[in-house]
């Protein structure tokens, strides 16, 4: 553990002088530790040859993380900031390679908390086999941010034969999910403590790129894939339906939801289909490959509870329908307005 003399972040930590350098070297470089970062140039320098051997396109994405509370059951803002951006690369079929880390810290932030977040980022990156190679740290006066905000950008390489797109869904395709819906949204709700509800719910935050690789290995022509973060599974499927001008029909009885999450939703009048996830992807797969992909998912630790939840239809293009056990159905609209504030 680095020896941090002050216990809290001060404005001087962001002013670029000796205290900034001390924070960066002792906490960030020590935790993220890789050759590209350790040189401490103004930019990371990445060999092109190593990237070109893995595919023919770069994937590049960015995301900012402002979750409140910063720590929650099963993770913290740091785990989200790494896995969230990795997953945005992964669902494009890319193999994630490098991340950046931009920190906006509020004056007065406890260094011990920052250390926990940075350690989580380092651990998540190490587990995923990616390097955090560049970054930036700013400090804003107390009250101008809420503890800390993180921005991460990511670079990955897309293998030559992979072409996933929300616009590629076709009638007859099958919809798969890699496990229980809504765990992250429910965990955040619980962590806020405003509802006086106690349930054993943990965030599902996890990186998905090895799962995606396993799926692409058995079916290179998966049509579409997205991680179902804010807005949940229903919102992602709405995007697919609109981008591909197809209908999507889900079977309510097939949707995987943990009993404790369902219980919370029943009490609060929420829908698991709209709750945020941080380790769930929805895939649209040609019918003839569906069982093969499902088996590959279920063999992977991030897909043990994978399930087929519906199919793509030619009816009601642009719309998502949920068929229930009574024999009637309803439409699932994309989320309008906020269901929960600041969940990722």
């Amino acid at each position: 553990m680095p020896d941090i003399t002050a216990e809290r972040i001060e404005l001087v930590h962001g002013e670029g002088g000796a205290r900034s350098r001390e924070l960066i070297e002792r906490m960030l470089v020590a935790a993220f530790d890789n050759p590209e970062l350790n040189r401490l140039e103004d930019q990371a320098r990445i060999e092109l040859a190593g990237l070109m051997s893995q595919g023919d396109r770069l994937a590049f994405t960015t995301d900012s993380y402002v979750v409140e509370p910063v720590e929650f059951p099963g993770g913290n803002i740091g785990t989200l900031a790494v896995n969230g951006t990795l997953n945005d690369l992964a669902v494009g079929g890319a193999r994630p390679r490098f991340l950046s880390c931009g920190l906006i810290l509020e004056e007065g932030l406890e260094l011990a908390l920052l250390q926990r977040v940075i350690n989580s980022m380092a651990e998540a990156a190490r587990d995923a086999g990616v390097a955090i190679v560049t970054g930036d740290t700013k400090v804003v006066p107390r009250g101008k941010a809420d503890q800390l905000f993180i921005n991460t950008s990511g670079i990955g390489v897309i293998p030559t034969n992979v072409d996933l797109s929300a616009a590629h869904c076709q009638p007859g395709d099958v919809i798969l999910i890699n496990g229980f819906m809504g765990d992250h949204g429910a965990a955040i709700l619980q962590a806020r403590g405003e509802l006086a509800l106690e349930a054993n719910v943990y965030t599902d935050c996890q990186s998905l790129h090895t799962l995606v690789s396993a799926m692409l290995a058995v079916c290179p022509d998966i049509h579409a894939m997205r991680d179902a973060t804010r807005g949940g599974v229903a919102t992602v499927l709405s995007e697919f339906a609109q981008a591909s001008s197809v209908g999507i029909c889900l079977q309510e009885s097939e949707l995987p939801v943990r009993p404790q999450v369902r219980g919370m939703c029943e009490i609060l009048g929420l829908e698991p289909l709209y709750l945020a996830n941080e380790g769930k992807l929805v895939a649209v797969v040609p019918r003839q490959s569906a069982s093969r992909v499902l088996e590959a998912m279920q063999r992977h630790p991030a897909g043990q509870h994978a399930a087929i939840i519906g199919q793509v239809t030619a009816e009601l293009p642009g719309k998502v329908q949920l068929a229930n056990a009574f024999g009637s159905s309803r439409l699932l609209e994309p989320l309008a307005g906020e269901q929960l504030p600041r969940i990722c």
Binding site: G269, K319, S328, A336, G337
Partner: protein, 374 residues
Amino acid sequence: MRFVDEFRDPALASTVLERIRQLVESPALRNRETIRVMEVCGGHTHTIFRYGLDQLLPDRLELIHGPGCPVCVLPREYIDTAITIARKPDVILASFGDLLRVPGTHMSLQQARAEGADIRTLYSPLDALQLARQYPDKIVVFLAIGFETTMPATALTLLQAEAEQLHNFRMLTRHISIIPTLKSLLDDPTLAVDGFIGPGHVSMVIGTHPYHFIAEHYRKPLVVSGFEPLDILQSLLMVLAQLATDRARIENQYARVVHNAGNRQAQVAIGSVFESCSRSTWRGLGAITQSGVVLKPRFAEFDAERAFGCEASGEGVDDSVEGSCCGEVLKGKLQPQDCPLFAVQCTPANPVGALMVSSEGACAACYQYRKGAH
């Protein structure tokens, strides 16, 4: 999940549906062109759309969505008053989430918050007391609305504030009573309804006795119902059984929650804090005698309207929105999709009328679960 799945059992539902079909086709009812049953409560409306129950019923059995969504009947001037108060210095306005998007005359509370007003979302009125304790230098104003369902919680919160002498706590109340509202509907000569599905949560508080005039005076059956799909199907069956035998009674399908005498403690709490006021105006419904309640004089110091000098007139405010049919939909004269603004100008993301805001509003429920399916 126990106590949930039993009431969503598809096999039981199809049995009840079959009996409903048989009754609708029975000699007593088959000559009626349509049988119109109003579900009074927005919670029932939500269940009906969520489970697509209306799609499963015989065509001649028509469900009319009633006025029992408290957010939907709030007069626009209430939102305006709340915004006026929220903009004053050192005020924290505390509200349930669904009120935030209700359009006022010029803006919603959500827009006022974006402009800098301190408006917090709560899950319990007791959280408002916590805010008042936490910020003794601010005035905390709680927006208290709803039918008898929420009156006891408002009353107990106020009694607690009084006991703790929380002098920086206020309430902006606009509670509405169900019985005068129903009576006003029944007195409307254009309302063609054969029977009612009665509200469950309101009845948990007031019991079933207050409805008896509906059976005795107006000769309409009313069945107090739970909120699960099987509850509603069974209640419909009970209404039809009465119609088929030409009876009009008050029955209680939701006996697992609703006692015929209601909840005495809740009634006492309401009675100790509120008194009825002579006349109140509701969005879409107009002025209804004895439908509102006000704080008793003993609680005057907690009354936000008095404290901030913005007492509403309660009458004569034009709540209509040009081109919209909120009132007709509220009274069940039109279905949501019959309104020319429905899903065109008026959507949940950008509501013109309050019926498009709350998930219990007929328009929001219809939009959420049905838009584009026709």
